[in-house]
């Protein structure tokens, strides 16, 4: 129960960092060996659902190591990422947090959570992404401190109904 509280608070604060555009601090929540992965989903027959998502090494929307994540943040900070100036506005609804597995004597947690990410741009553009994340969290030294050593983001859409993915999940 304490763990649940701590993990939830961790996600709440992670979401706030992103909504507040504090990308560098957000980046620190990821381990150096992290993998940040959003596969492509495909509408397939029930009998072929095991091939619904692409796998690592195939095409993906995100398949980043820390260097790539850092590159994305640096890009946003150049002052020349025109698609983000005026900046888009985001709000994250994070729910259904579930510690589904504790591995290696508690040195790694597997956590599922659901999210709704709402983005507006300019006068009246709206995007909403809803999906689920499966994270591997490494508890840090202090209570309530974690490092994300792997994140898989599963969207519900196959054809992405948005112009770009210039934000983080």
């Amino acid at each position: 129960m304490v763990r649940q509280f701590e993990v939830e608070r961790f996600y709440t604060r992670e979401a706030a960092l992103l909504d507040d555009r504090r990308f560098e601090e957000w980046l620190e929540l990821f381990s150096e060996d992290t993998n940040y992965f959003m596969p492509i989903r495909r509408t397939r027959l029930a009998k072929e659902l095991d091939r619904e998502f692409t796998r690592r090494g195939e095409m993906a929307f995100f398949d980043d190591d820390k260097a790539l994540m850092r590159a994305r943040v640096d890009k946003l900070r150049t002052g020349r990422a025109w698609a983000e100036d005026p900046p888009s506005r985001t709000r994250r609804i994070v729910t259904n947090v579930d510690v589904v597995d504790v591995v290696d004597a508690g040195t790694e947690l597997t956590v599922r959570s659901n999210f709704l990410l709402y983005r507006t741009r300019l006068d009246s553009e709206e995007d909403t992404w809803i999906g689920s994340r499966i994270d591997t969290l490494r508890p840090g030294g202090e209570p309530g401190v974690f490092r994300i050593s792997a994140r898989t983001i599963l969207l519900e859409q196959t054809v992405l109904l948005a112009r770009n993915l210039s934000n983080f999940f």
Binding site: I40, T43, A71, R80, A81, N164
Partner: protein, 459 residues
């Protein structure tokens, strides 16, 4: 208010380099495009490597028709409309997969993978055995042909054969990808939706003028590092673009540290061809050793295929109307959905023979350059969307688009069966595409169309 040939001629001026904005936002134009262009042109459907085994299918789009491309038992490829001849229901709702039959879930008519009607519930009871099954298969696409594994189809039974349609320019465009190895598609077609007119997305593929500005934020050291030096490694002697007078919103001068497209000198070569195909961008020489995989042009037989003029072409081909072949070994389809909605599909290729580590690097590049989360492509949609929006205002429409870069200075060299222009960064290929677009829209017959899209001597 029907659109006349005169109207259409008035939309595009090759001489003045002008394009009328209404072609990007009038519903009637879009309807006419569906009919005259997407109802007649050969359109890319998929690559044969996506459907290796009998029954493998990939669902594609031709205009507003949904099309099933299916590998046959005899190894051939067919394409059928995904619609039941009984009441029109789709017979397949998956994007890709393997099927032994296509079962219509409305009344149960079932079709072979070649589209023939095989089973009809109640064929004896209700139809009295009188239904002529041979007349009620899935409607075939009028013509389907592959060129080196790239499957194309056309709705027009009178269209010239694919190779003739492609001509030397279209074939060179595909060869520039096909010659790099024994190509297969990496699993996962990125698909996303852009709120822009499709022609902005096509215009842009020839646009070697925008990267240094639009994508300025991607040409930073940490991106270079993360991409393993494949993007934008600047060389000290890369030429610089004249930026005098260019200021940011805050009044500061905008400085570009280097030519954006890494070692690219400004030497460009543009190839233009019948029916509107074109290739635009740097020469192979000015690209230097950056191509994927390195040194592919030197491989045995490649020079023969590309030919003496083609072997120095390293820009972006467009197979008219909407198939862009990239230097990252990808093919990007720009699928018009409405006058202001375009769907983008990214097909990514790797040579089968590539060592695993290098294959990994290629996929990493393909994943991170283009696509909706691509480090380059993120900004493009924003521009195209705004450009589309600003074609609707009464006053804004009075201002034409201006394609003046190099206008009238492009001497067309017709050699080795290709028509090319040797020049610097320019807008020739775009202008050629708009010109061809107008000819298609006028509803010329195939011979007239070919004549009207024969390259001139100067552009």
């Amino acid at each position: 208010m029907a659109i006349s040939r005169d109207d259409i001629d008035g939309f595009i001026s090759l001489e003045r380099g002008e394009v009328d904005r209404r072609i990007f936002s009038d519903d009637e134009i879009f309807e006419l495009e569906m009919e005259q262009i997407f109802g007649r042109a050969w359109l890319f459907l998929c690559h044969e490597s996506q459907i290796p085994d009998p029954g493998d299918f990939f669902q594609s789009v031709m205009g507003r028709d949904n099309v099933l491309v299916v590998r046959q038992h005899d190894g051939g490829v067919r394409a059928m409309l995904n619609t039941c001849p009984h009441r029109g229901n789709a017979v397949c709702r998956a994007e890709e997969g393997n099927a032994r039959s296509f079962l219509c879930t409305y009344h149960g008519w079932s079709f072979g993978i070649d589209g023939t009607l095989k089973g009809v519930p109640g064929f004896k009871n209700f139809y009295g055995g009188e239904l002529d099954k041979s007349e009620h298969g899935l409607p075939p696409v009028a013509q389907v042909t592959s060129y080196k594994g790239f499957v194309f189809g056309t709705h027009d039974p009178t269209a010239p054969p694919l190779e003739e349609y492609l001509g030397t320019t279209g074939r060179l465009g595909l060869d520039l990808l096909a010659c790099r190895g024994d190509m297969e598609v990496v699993p996962g077609i990125q698909k996303f939706v852009l709120d822009c007119n499709w022609k902005f997305a096509v215009d842009n593929l020839f646009d070697w003028y925008h990267p240094q500005l639009t994508h300025a934020s991607a040409f930073v050291p940490s991106v270079r590092r993360a991409m393993s030096g494949r993007v934008a490694a600047p060389s000290a002697d890369a030429p610089l673009i004249d930026m005098s007078g260019v200021e940011q919103q805050d009044g500061s001068e905008l400085e570009l540290a280097t030519a954006a497209i890494s070692n690219t000198a400004f030497d460009n070569v543009v190839v233009i061809g019948e029916y509107g195909h074109a290739i635009g961008g740097p020469t192979a020489a000015s690209r230097g050793n950056e191509e994927l995989p390195p040194g592919w042009r030197a491989a045995a037989g490649v020079a023969d295929v590309l030919g003496p003029a083609g072997k120095d072409v390293a820009g972006h081909p467009n197979i008219f109307p909407t198939s862009w072949i990239t230097t990252t070994m990808q093919l990007s389809l720009r699928i018009p959905r409405t006058r202001s909605i375009t769907e983008i599909w990214w097909f990514s290729f790797v040579p089968r023979e590539l060592p695993p580590e290098f294959r990994k690097l290629v996929v990493r590049i393909q994943n991170h350059v283009f696509g909706p989360a691509g480090l380059l492509e993120q900004e493009d949609g924003e521009n195209w969307n705004q450009s589309t929006l600003q074609t609707r205002g009464l006053a804004s429409r009075r201002t034409k688009h201006h394609l003046l870069m190099g206008l009238g200075r492009g001497k067309v060299i017709k050699e080795h069966g290709l028509a090319r222009i040797e020049t610097l960064t320019n807008e020739h290929a775009q202008l050629w595409t708009y010109h061809a677009w107008a000819q298609w829209m006028k509803g010329l017959d195939w011979a007239e169309l070919r004549a009207a899209t024969t390259p001139p001597d100067v552009l």
